[in-house]
């Protein structure tokens, strides 16, 4: 049946809680209130206070406690109310969780859920896409589903994974995206991108809510005679370079599209890899479409100017095709 992106995540967590008594949720306002976005709604009633733990406002202690519980054999799912607040837990994520296995062979199987992204008039502290901070941290896995099907399959894979996973959920997709997903238990492998739309003239490599910006652009380009391939990264770390390079070798043109700001963004890393490993296949420069290097503004016209959109993608696509 048609399922929202939010409900898909909720189902995935719910099923894993039923499957494994070591799985539990910890975060701010996730129990009685059901989470700021209601991802954990009903779980307190179903699983009890022991497994749905409301905490003080302490992002560092939420992630720290998740790490400690995981070292004792549990499989915690920690919720950041907004991805923006994960900066309060930065040290626990990048220094404690990410390095335990490498340093002393201690697995830290935690999931840190981080509702990210903008377009909801959230302003500078409720709209950010901080995934690149974590892509720069070996030892972490960084996931961001762009479809309801992947949202459920990836949250389940993340919970079962034996390494720390930062699970970005795009807030704008929570209720706007509704689609058929498979019934029952399934996982989507971490570390595997997929071809979201097949094409032969241009590759748009993206993830999260930008998939739909890419799709809108691709439909316009189709009318202009340009066949666009869209790659949904799904996992940002470890990077599925193979799928990216295969697409670019086929189309010879690449646009890297993300909602996060441009400089030092995920697109820069992909651009470097294409330049190193598929340079001779390119017919045009590698192009990036990303947010400008500013904080995310609040007021509607400023916010609209900030985010990448189909027009910005089309402008780059036409430039590449004419090159």
């Amino acid at each position: 049946m048609p399922t929202t992106y939010l409900e898909a995540i909720r189902q995935g967590i719910w099923e894993e809680m039923e499957r494994d008594p070591n799985v539990f949720c910890i975060g701010e306002d996730i129990g009685v209130y059901g989470g700021a976005f209601k991802v954990t709604a009903g779980m307190l009633e179903a699983f009890g206070e022991k497994r749905v733990v409301d905490t003080p406002i302490s992002e560092s202690a939420i992630v720290g406690a998740a790490i400690g519980a995981s070292l004792m054999g549990l499989r915690p799912i920690a919720e950041m109310q907004y991805a923006d607040f994960i900066s309060c837990a930065f040290d626990q994520v990048v220094n404690f969780a990410a390095k335990c296995r490498y340093r002393w062979n201690a697995p830290v199987p935690i999931v840190v859920r981080a509702p990210s992204g903008g377009g909801t008039h959230g302003g500078p502290f409720h709209s950010q896409s901080p995934e690149a901070w974590f892509v720069h941290t070996p030892g972490l896995k960084v996931v961001m589903p762009g479809t309801a099907r992947d949202a459920k399959g990836l949250i389940k894979a993340a919970i079962r994974d034996n390494d720390p996973v930062i699970f970005f959920e795009h807030k704008a997709l929570y209720r706007r995206l509704k689609e058929e997903i498979p019934e029952g238990d399934y996982t989507v492998p971490i570390g595997k991108a997929r071809v979201f739309r097949e094409g032969k003239d241009l590759s748009i490599i993206t993830y999260g809510a930008m998939l739909y910006v890419a799709q809108e652009a691709a439909e316009t380009l189709e009318k202009e005679g340009v066949s666009t391939e869209i790659i949904d990264m799904r996992t940002l770390l470890p990077i599925d370079e193979e799928t990216v390079l295969a697409s670019v070798k086929k189309t010879s043109r690449a646009i890297l599209l993300h909602e996060a700001t441009l400089t030092g963004g995920f697109g820069a890393e992909i651009a470097a890899r294409i330049a190193e490993k598929a340079f001779e296949y390119l017919d045009a420069p590698i192009a990036r479409v990303a947010a400008p290097d500013t904080p995310i503004p609040f007021s509607t016209p400023l916010e609209q100017a900030f985010f990448p959109n189909a027009d910005k993608v089309l402008e780059k696509a036409r430039w590449l095709c004419a090159y």
């Binding site: 539990f24 022991k50 733990v53 905490t55 003080p56 302490s58 560092s60 202690a61 939420i62 992630v63 720290g64 406690a65 998740a66 790490i67 400690g68 519980a69 995981s70 070292l71 004792m72 054999g73 549990l74 915690p76 040290d91 626990q92 220094n95 404690f96 390095k99 335990c100 296995r101 490498y102 340093r103 002393w104 062979n105 201690a106 697995p107 070996p138 030892g139 896995k141 994974d161 034996n162 390494d163 470890p238």
Partner: protein, 341 residues
């Protein structure tokens, strides 16, 4: 543990005809671990470091040995330990060998991290020891989570987390103790207040008089003990553990002590008034325990010296083993970043 048995210390008892005296037994064990820690740290700091065999930082717990030994011996082997960087004896108490610790300091594969990390940054989940990271107090929220997990699992065990006075200025201390208190997690927080955090004296670290003063603000009972008195630390820890096991939540112990060294081997501690070192040298925890044992007929001077000689020989062997341990192959650089299936 095997090392203690091999010393055959029971024969030094004055009361050999009677049932073994548990306090005497405890004192012997304590002196063994305290002197072993001192000896290994002296070797590292005053010999291997100066010989250039240790390339990284060296942080010792000289003068503070009663804290980790007092607390470590009060804990059950299944209680979980989060040592700080001046708690070497906790590793020995849990059965990690001096040779492994020496190899760790020298970056050899014989160390618990196989050269991936240095000095006291080591842990072993089988021995219920979690490795520290360099950011002070980062262990406190993690230990709170470990304690919450023990409660979740219905275990009667608890968690002991160790840190210094400086660490209590960091947000993680406050978030962690508050979280543990709210969750009534079985967590024992043990602060070694050694008067300095690097060059910063306690009065520039905090405006309250004692670290223990911070406990009640979180609803956590706290007490101050003489950190150079092994028995005082041991008793306080036993009280704290009983409190945690009864489901009453966390308990904070402030052990007043003094850092008889710079922050690290490179630091001469020129900023510490000399008279403080002299005053605290007279309160040395090892000398105090020796005196107690001799005065109470637990051991003679000769027996203690004989034990020290055996420990030195043990450390000689450990050092030789560690120096023979190979450096890691550069190919290990890329291993174990993620689970390897």
């Amino acid at each position: 543990m095997a090392a203690v048995d091999s010393l055959n210390l029971s024969r030094v008892s004055r009361k050999s005809e009677e049932a073994p005296d548990p306090d005497a037994e405890l004192a012997r064990k304590a002196l063994y671990y305290m002197f072993l820690m001192r000896e290994v740290e002296e070797r590292i700091e005053k010999r291997l470091y100066r010989q250039g065999k240790i390339v990284g930082g060296v942080y010792v717990g000289r003068g503070q040995e009663a804290i980790c030994v007092g607390a470590g011996l009060a804990a059950d082997p299944q209680d979980v330990l989060f040592p700080c960087h001046r708690d070497m004896a906790l590793y020995f108490i849990r059965g990690i060998q001096p040779r492994e610790v020496l190899a760790q300091y020298m970056g050899r594969v014989g160390g618990p991290t196989r050269g991936k990390d240095g000095n006291m940054h080591m842990g072993d989940l089988n021995r219920r020891i979690v490795a520290i990271i360099s950011a002070m107090a980062a262990s406190v929220p993690v230990s709170a989570g470990a304690a919450m997990a023990l409660k979740y699992q219905g275990s009667r065990n608890c968690v002991l987390v160790f840190f210094g006075d400086g660490a209590t200025s960091r947000g993680d201390f406050h978030e962690g103790i508050n979280m543990a208190a709210v969750m009534k997690a079985p967590l024992v927080l043990i602060c070694n207040n050694n008067a300095y955090a690097y060059s910063t004296p306690v009065h520039k670290q905090m405006a309250c008089a004692n670290v223990a003063d911070k406990g009640p603000g979180y609803g956590v009972p706290a007490e101050i003990v003489d950190g150079n008195d092994f028995f005082a630390v041991h008793r306080a820890t036993a009280r704290a553990i009983a409190h945690a096991r009864e489901g009453l939540g966390p308990y904070l112990i402030e052990c007043k002590t003094f850092r008889m060294t710079g922050h690290a081997a490179h630091d001469s501690a020129f900023y510490v008034p000399k008279h403080l070192f002299e005053e605290w040298a007279a309160k040395d925890p090892i000398l105090r325990l020796e005196r107690h044992m001799i005065e109470n007929g637990i051991a003679t001077r000769e027996e203690i010296d004989a034990m020290y000689a055996r420990i030195r020989a043990e450390v000689d062997e450990a050092q030789a083993w560690a120096e023979q341990s190979p450096f890691p192959d550069p190919s290990e650089l890329l291993t174990n970043v993620y689970e390897e299936k």
